[in-house]
Amino acid sequence: MSTMKYTAWQDLDGNEIANAAYPPGLVLVKTQTIGTGVSSVTVSNAFSSSFEHYRVILHGGSGSAFTTLRLQMSGDTSGYYGAAFGASYSSGNAAGAGVNNGSQWDYAGYGGTNVSLALSCDIFSPHTAGRTRIKSDWTYNSGSTAYSMFVGETTSTASRTGFVISPASGTMTGGTIRVYGYRN
């Protein structure tokens, strides 16, 4: 294993010292456990000026029905756009689903009775005034079709501090939401 050794701090510039003490990467901002029979969970005070971009991961627990998980920025109830991309397991044919001026991003994740809740999403500039964009790595399966990615944008330019996750069908029980900030 190679290690980096500094023999003289005076040889380092400010950025090098900062990177050694606080290396760039993901920093855990907030952890939220989901309760029982919950139709929506609001995670507040997740976004701040401390970080520009964030990753949200939800895993564990289950849904009362097989369902997509929707993501909404707190306070923004319209102006959501996006598209999910996928393909059929059986035929390989491409498939898609869209959100056109919706009230949330409809395909941010999924969950069910036999699968845990799953959402892994990068959120770009939610606290900065301007449009927020997302990229969700794992959206959902329906029948023989798997949707592997969802990208979205909201036309609202508000500065947000939190978000809401809700299933399109049924309720959620358990699972843990973790919010990470991208430290530069």
Binding site: G37, S39, S40, T67
Partner: protein, 50 residues
């Protein structure tokens, strides 16, 4: 394509059984919230679980 009906939803999720959560606070939906929630899910496609 099968979709959820109000009768199915009322049977699966009777009044008082559905909660809303804000951070660590979990509370049952009010009757008005529950009614709106059920109505919003009527007609939603039942996804096929693998």
């Amino acid at each position: 394509m099968a979709t959820w009906t109000r009768e199915e939803l009322e049977e699966l999720y009777p009044e008082g059984s559905v909660n809303v959560q804000v951070d660590d606070s979990v509370r049952p939906m009010t009757n008005a919230e529950w009614d709106a929630w059920v109505e919003q899910q009527v007609g939603v496609e039942k996804m096929e679980e693998l």
